[in-house]
Symmetry: C2
Subunit: 249 residues, 2 copies
């Protein structure tokens, strides 16, 4: 447990080595034991291992090489499809075509994903989450043939690691933990929280390469820009509508 | 690891016994090691232990006794507040007031929550997720004084267990796992997936108590009704707007 949780690094280079069925089953079984709202299990996991389908997913995930390289790609979806089908067959009127139900199902999917990630790491495998899943949900829906009431939320690349990066530095814990109520940050506190990160050799190198004045600008201008975020927000809301989750009246 | 993942049960009765600081710190440190988008750490955890604040949270969480009983209540929030403040102080224009950014931050919060849950269970504590968090986000925002760009996503009750429930039965794994692409379910498959659950003694008792013809009706009519879902969908979308996450143009 400690090794999996406290030794986590995101792995972006994988060996060309398949994951034995037994280990993959262990990972999927671990995912299925996560908490799920009302034991409805309103999520699903698509396990992609074939070269052709991984190539299609790779295109969607901004051509990040690890999607092709990793032997297993797990797409975790918010999924009310099975549950709604069951309700209809049992003389029950499902009311799950709304935003709250989407969030409920997304929560299920993410708790299962983190169980899968830790189970894989516990078995000595490496993992990386692909944030591009929500950006490119529409394309992933086409590739994986996801029906109505199914939306991909996150993706895990899983495999034997072919690199050995160090742990990623985190902000001091007071940046994320609040006692009893939220304590908002003064400018001095923000300075103090980000001091070490902004003054690291790594950041200085990054600023030089990207020709930026501050680390924050690398996020706002290059990595997660307003333009991209607005574009993908519109696209994701369109996906929620198309997949049947925006009937909120 | 195996004990925490495969031994998970939701615990709803807790002993009146505080969690030692060292163990609470271990849980919070575990949460902070979860994957986070671009290492932005766009989430926060509010740790509530005081009787007065737990009472207020208990009111919001549909008066579920465990919120008062558990020594520690952890509220996990999607949180761009600190990051946006930092960007503004560093001559960078943040573009995180949109739906995609909300989802990014919610994903961060949920991966951290599941790390915390497993770390607590690894130390012999019990946990329960509170799905009421997204239903009552507006009230929780008031109680915990959450600023703009902060939305509560889920809550964990954590403490020493005062009950010993068995493992919750899950559907056969083919209900959630799909190979390569999504394989939609035929009516016969739905029957087969739900057969054991529908025919258990527990379900039969539940149908009698609730005077319902099918198990699905207990979900659609009692537990998660369309009326409630629509009401809380509207409320949650209103919260996203109010907290600054719906500027999608």
């Amino acid at each position: 447990m400690d090794n999996a949780i406290f030794g986590h690094r995101s792995i972006r280079k994988y060996k060309n080595q398949p994951i034995p069925d037994k280990i993959l089953e262990y990972i999927l079984e671990a995912a299925s034991r996560a908490s799920t709202t009302g034991n409805m299990q309103v999520y699903s996991i698509v396990v992609s291992t074939g070269a052709e389908i991984k190539k299609q997913l790779w295109e969607s995930h901004f051509k990040q090489e690890m999607v092709k390289e990793a032997p297993v790609v797990l797409t975790f979806c918010a999924d009310f499809n099975r549950f709604v089908k069951w309700c209809k067959m049992r003389d029950a009127q499902p009311g799950y075509d709304n935003f709250l139900s989407f969030m409920t199902a997304a929560i299920d999917a993410l708790l299962a994903a983190q169980n899968a990630a830790l189970a894989a790491e516990h078995k000595g495998l490496g993992i990386c989450y692909l944030g591009t899943t929500t950006y490119m949900a529409d394309k992933i829906i086409d590739i994986l043939e996801l029906p109505k009431y199914v939306v991909p939320i996150t993706t895990l690349a899983v495999g034997y690691t072919n690199e050995d990066p160090g742990l990623t530095g985190r902000l001091p814990r007071r940046a994320i933990v609040h006692n009893e109520k939220y304590q908002d940050f003064s400018p001095e506190e923000i300075d103090s929280l980000y001091h070490d990160r902004e003054n690291s050799a790594f950041t200085k190198e990054l600023l030089k390469i990207n020709d930026k004045a501050t680390l924050a600008q690398i996020f706002t201008d290059n990595r997660y820009s307003k333009k991209d975020n607005v574009h993908f927000s519109q696209q994701l809301l369109e996906v929620l509508k198309k997949q049947g989750f925006m009937n909120n009246k």
